[in-house]
């Protein structure tokens, strides 16, 4: 049965469709290299400084075209970027959001954002149609990107993944694509993007974002930080999940051992 269980995933051809990925038929599709993520595994934790840098990259580069449908308030999350309440308030106020309900005169109006609001769409593209009209293809909303893309793991990795707890395929693919523009003369050729033709021209250049914590301003660092940030954005409850999960599994193992001893003792009478 387990074999069948694994088999289901074997060929989940990478990624797809509405998010803007097309599937590769090419056999020469290399896998993105696995990175060392701080949040991998049972005791994995997000690195707050990295998430903040990643958010900086998102804000200064990605947000020009990509929406991120998360509320500002979540940036305060201590399991996430952990900005202060004042920082988030100030950040939210720099965005103009459309009020849900009309004002006293019956007009829908724009107002400065509050922490409870969701990031508005990019100024240039109020909706997917506008983005598609301008760019040929709508850039995907980034809030779930790290979970909505995947690359084919292949044998035997799809089996070992169960035991190693590897769930960072989307994260690795984001990093791979951002660092995969290897044809200098073709800005839309990507080593790791399925099919190699990507609608998004190389978005990051060394020095494009100025880090303030001394981290070198390289494409590799931007890609890594923004991939980590997007992983948090896609799964903001991951750290709570792993904390509770560790306790749950320890508990179940203890209970199983006790149950086994009880079972042995009770059945001792029956034989």
């Amino acid at each position: 049965m387990m074999t069948r269980l694994k088999a289901s995933l074997l060929a989940f051809a990478v990624l797809a469709a509405s998010a803007g990925f097309a599937v590769a038929q090419e056999a020469d599709q290399p896998k993105p290299p696995e990175q060392n993520w701080s949040f991998h595994g049972v005791f994995g934790r997000f690195d707050q400084a990295q998430l903040q840098r990643g958010f900086q990259v998102y804000r200064e580069v990605c947000s020009n075209c990509h929406r991120l449908s998360i509320p500002f308030r979540t940036l305060e999350d201590q399991d996430g970027p952990g900005y202060s309440e004042a920082q988030v308030k100030a950040l939210a106020a720099t965005y103009q959001v459309t009020n849900d309900e009309p004002n006293d005169q019956g007009k829908i109006f724009q107002r400065p954002g509050t922490p409870a609001d969701t990031f508005p769409p990019p100024d240039a593209f109020p909706n997917d149609q506008a983005a598609a009209a301008a760019l040929g293809k709508a850039p995907p909303d980034m809030w779930l990107l790290a979970k909505s893309i995947k690359y084919e793991r292949g044998f035997p990795w799809f089996i070992t993944d169960v035991f190693t707890g590897y769930q960072e395929d989307g994260t690795d693919l984001i990093y791979g694509v951002l660092t995969g523009y290897t044809h200098k003369d073709d800005p839309q050729w990507n080593l790791y993007y399925p099919g190699h033709r990507i609608a998004m021209p190389m978005p990051l250049q060394d020095g494009a974002v100025k880090y303030t914590d001394g981290t070198p301003d390289t494409v590799q660092n931007y890609a890594k930080d923004v991939a980590a940030f997007l992983t948090w954005a896609a799964e903001p409850t991951m750290m709570e999940r792993k904390r509770i999960g560790f306790r749950a599994i320890v508990f179940l193992i203890v209970l199983s051992v006790l149950m086994y001893l009880v079972k042995k003792r009770i059945w001792a009478d029956a034989h």
Partner: protein, 172 residues
């Protein structure tokens, strides 16, 4: 049917007690998430404050704003209403509170618009005291939102609020 092999284990056995206790702890810790999921979620908690612009509210007017899914009355009280509220002897009140305790600025009364009887929304400028009267069971409130007649036990609640500017108030 009978069972020659039905041997009852000793219930005092430590192992059985320990296993039972661990299982009970597990069951209890599973119950909490199932209960807590019905509490207000993170999105609801984040929306728990609202700002109101006072400048368009004329003297004598009551404006109803939505806060935490329910009504809040913002009342621009007239001089007569303020005097009536302040002059009320505290001994006459079911839920004794002076008017000063209930307002930050005498001309602005901010109260939760939910009758303390069973949760209906009272109607403004009605009842003997021209404060509010509840259409459901006839509770009457004065111009300070205090209960004066009818079945309600308490005054209309005053939410947490503060004046950000002289003409702008933040509730919650």
């Amino acid at each position: 049917m009978s069972h020659a092999v039905a041997i009852q284990p000793s219930r005092r056995d430590f192992l059985y007690l320990a296993t039972g206790a661990v299982a009970a702890v597990g069951a209890a810790s599973v119950v909490w998430p199932l209960v807590d999921q019905m509490n207000p979620d993170a999105g609801t908690l984040a929306l728990s404050s609202v700002e109101v612009d006072l400048s368009p509210i004329a003297e004598g007017q009551i404006v109803t704003v939505k806060w935490r899914g329910g009504p809040v009355f913002v009342r621009h009280r007239t001089q007569k209403e303020i005097l009536a509220a302040e002059a009320t002897p505290i001994a006459e009140l079911r839920d004794p509170q002076t008017d000063q305790e209930r307002v930050q600025k005498p001309e602005w009364l901010v109260v939760v618009g939910v009758c303390t009887h069973l949760g209906c929304v009272p109607l403004g400028h009605e009842g003997q005291y021209e404060g509010w009267k509840c259409p459901c069971h006839g509770s009457v409130y004065d111009t300070s939102g205090r209960i004066r007649q009818g079945p309600a036990p308490l005054n209309l609640a005053v939410p947490e609020y503060k004046f950000i500017t002289p003409t702008r108030v933040k509730i919650g």
